[in-house]
């Protein structure tokens, strides 16, 4: 085989190699580090090195010492409700933009602003607006006769997680709106006209034609957004620090607390692996359903 030919065949792999090697190094190190230390007792406050082999203790401690189950429940709740709300709210706005009335182009361009903010900045913004004494939102809602908890929405165990979800929804609904709008534009007008000739009503057309045609885009958006919500850290950190108590603690915040506040490296390592397994299951389940349905 001529030398030039083999080089040509190997070229794509050679081109991929640098990025794959760098990324593998960057992710395998943390995963291996966590796997090893999850079986060791190691708290940075007492020792710069792992102290002793502790078997499965760290894995048991994750459930006994940290509110892991609560955090998992909060994380899933945030992920499902947030994604659901943002998708449908965004879809509604996309349909309004799609009326193509005068001024819609400008409004679409302005609408993206919340999505450009750092989540930390969005968090501060709403922390100010929601401040129990002096914040404009409790003042407005109170004036409208809405029951405002005395500790504020972020300080109340029943509303804290919900408020985080609302702020995330505020920030990311525009993302759904403009991407779904781009999807609406890509739908062939002739398909819709044919359905109209066949006497399909507006709602019927939306459910039977528009929505199925948007499916590939929608599936992609939902996956990305669900995972970003699942990973929620910045907003939780700024808005509630997981409180009050553990009412709004998420898995990411739980990891942060144990790892970078309590410096309990062994326990954090065990929790890391539990989270990695949960995330892999979710992503694979999702891919499984998407690909199955596509064939069907």
């Amino acid at each position: 085989m001529p030398k030039r030919y083999t080089i040509q065949r190997r070229l794509p792999y050679l081109l991929l190699a640098p990025s794959v090697i760098v990324l593998l190094a960057l992710i395998l190190y943390p995963l291996a580090f966590a796997l090893r230390n999850s079986f060791w007792f190691w708290n940075l406050q007492t020792s710069p090195m792992p102290l002793y082999h502790s078997g499965w203790d760290n894995y048991r401690m994750v459930f006994q010492v940290t509110p892991f189950a609560v955090a998992l429940k909060n994380t899933l709740l945030l992920g499902f409700l947030g994604t659901f709300a943002q998708f449908w709210f965004g879809m509604g706005i996309a349909l309004l933009l799609h009326t193509h009335l005068r001024g819609m182009g400008l409004m679409r361009a302005a609408l993206i602003m919340p999505t450009t903010l750092a989540p930390v900045v969005a968090g501060f913004l709403f922390r100010y607006l929601l401040e129990p004494k002096g914040g404009i939102l409790p003042w407005l809602l109170g004036g409208l006769g809405f029951p405002v908890p005395p500790q504020g929405f972020l300080g109340n165990a029943n509303t804290a997680l919900f408020s985080i979800g609302l702020v995330d929804t505020w920030q990311w609904t525009p993302f759904f709106a403009i991407v779904l709008y781009a999807g609406l534009l890509s739908i062939n007008e002739e398909v819709k006209e044919a359905a109209q000739v066949d006497g399909a009503s507006g709602w019927r057309m939306f459910w039977s034609i528009t929505l199925p045609l948007l499916r590939p885009i929608a599936a992609f958006l939902v996956m990305i957004r669900f995972m970003q919500l699942f990973n929620s850290f910045d907003l939780v950190f700024v808005l509630t620090s997981g409180g009050p108590g553990t009412a709004s603690r998420t898995l990411s915040f739980n990891l942060y607390r144990e790892g970078l506040v309590n410096y309990n490296i062994g326990l954090t390592a065990a929790m890391t692996w539990l989270v990695v397994i949960i995330v892999s299951v979710i992503i694979n389940l999702y891919l499984f359903f998407i690909y199955r349905k596509r064939e069907w």
Partner: protein, 273 residues
């Protein structure tokens, strides 16, 4: 469309715009309020603008001015470092038929949607072991876990659009693959490369979890800097707002410049927009 419907659509859009832009507007006003007026109720829409919040944070004593510089260094560094890796990978994925291509693409995206906190804590210990604790390079290198996969996806979508014919014509003229890459792909995909860099810059700029764990006081970035005003001695809303407004400006301006590429960038090139 009927007139009645038009009025309804505009009314809904007006409410939507107030809902999404009102909070930002109100927060920007906060940056220009005197600290004593941060909580004045009923809310004051008109007031004497006060520039002291910006003065305190960026001029004298100006503790946040170095953070602005840190943000620029880290975001620019992360963007520039990711480009050569991402360009070669994107070119390979765009131009060659190969086994496992779909798997590799999915692998990149799985890194993008993995929880970053999982990586950050081991990095925190690794960096102090190799003497990189609190350095810019610690943040720049670890941010590649996001910057490279994102750039590969987005750049691939742009290279896909450069006609293969042009590249083949260059080969016929005797140019090798590498010469053709630099003479055809780079210039024709340049707008895409710039767009990708701008997005990578914004994502690095807005990232908080990496600098929060890996920076020290002198290298920390501006969005992390805003957090420091949540001190035990009280909440300095004027200072938070002033730094946050400066931190939000570059991403906003970049998104306005990106215009029609916003949809494509936010979906990693998956939706053309």
């Amino acid at each position: 469309m009927q007139r009645r419907h038009k009025v309804l659509v505009y009314a809904l859009m007006a409410l939507i715009m107030i809902f999404f832009l009102g909070p930002i507007f109100w927060f920007i006003l906060l940056a220009f309020r005197h600290p004593s007026e941060a909580y004045s109720l009923p809310p004051q829409l008109f007031f004497e603008p006060y520039l002291g919040n910006f003065g305190d944070t960026f001029v004298d004593p100006g503790n946040n001015a170095p953070q602005l510089l840190s943000s620029v260094i880290v975001s620019t560094g992360a963007t520039l470092l990711s480009l050569p890796f991402a360009l070669s990978a994107a070119y390979a994925l765009s131009r060659f038929a190969m086994r496992g291509k779909e798997f590799i693409m999915n692998w990149y995206i799985s890194l993008l949607i993995a929880p970053p906190i999982v990586f950050v804590i081991p990095y925190f210990i690794l960096m102090s072991r190799i003497g990189w604790a609190g350095t810019y390079q610690a943040m720049i290198v670890t941010l590649q876990t996001l910057a490279i996969p994102f750039s590969v996806w987005l750049l691939k979508s742009f290279i896909d659009e450069v006609p293969l014919d042009l590249e083949e014509a260059a080969w016929v003229d005797g140019a090798g693959r590498f010469a053709a890459f630099f003479r055809i792909i780079i210039p024709l995909a340049l707008p895409g490369i710039i767009v990708t860099s701008m997005f990578t810059f914004v994502f690095s700029w807005n990232n908080v979890i990496f600098p929060l764990a890996l920076s020290k006081q002198s290298t920390t970035t501006l969005p992390v800097g805003t957090i420091s005003f949540f001190a035990s001695t009280g909440v300095y809303w004027g200072h938070i707002a002033a730094t946050a407004v400066v931190a939000m400006l570059p991403p906003m301006i970049i998104f306005l410049l990106l215009g029609r590429y916003v949809v494509r960038g936010l979906t990693f090139g998956a939706v053309k927009g």
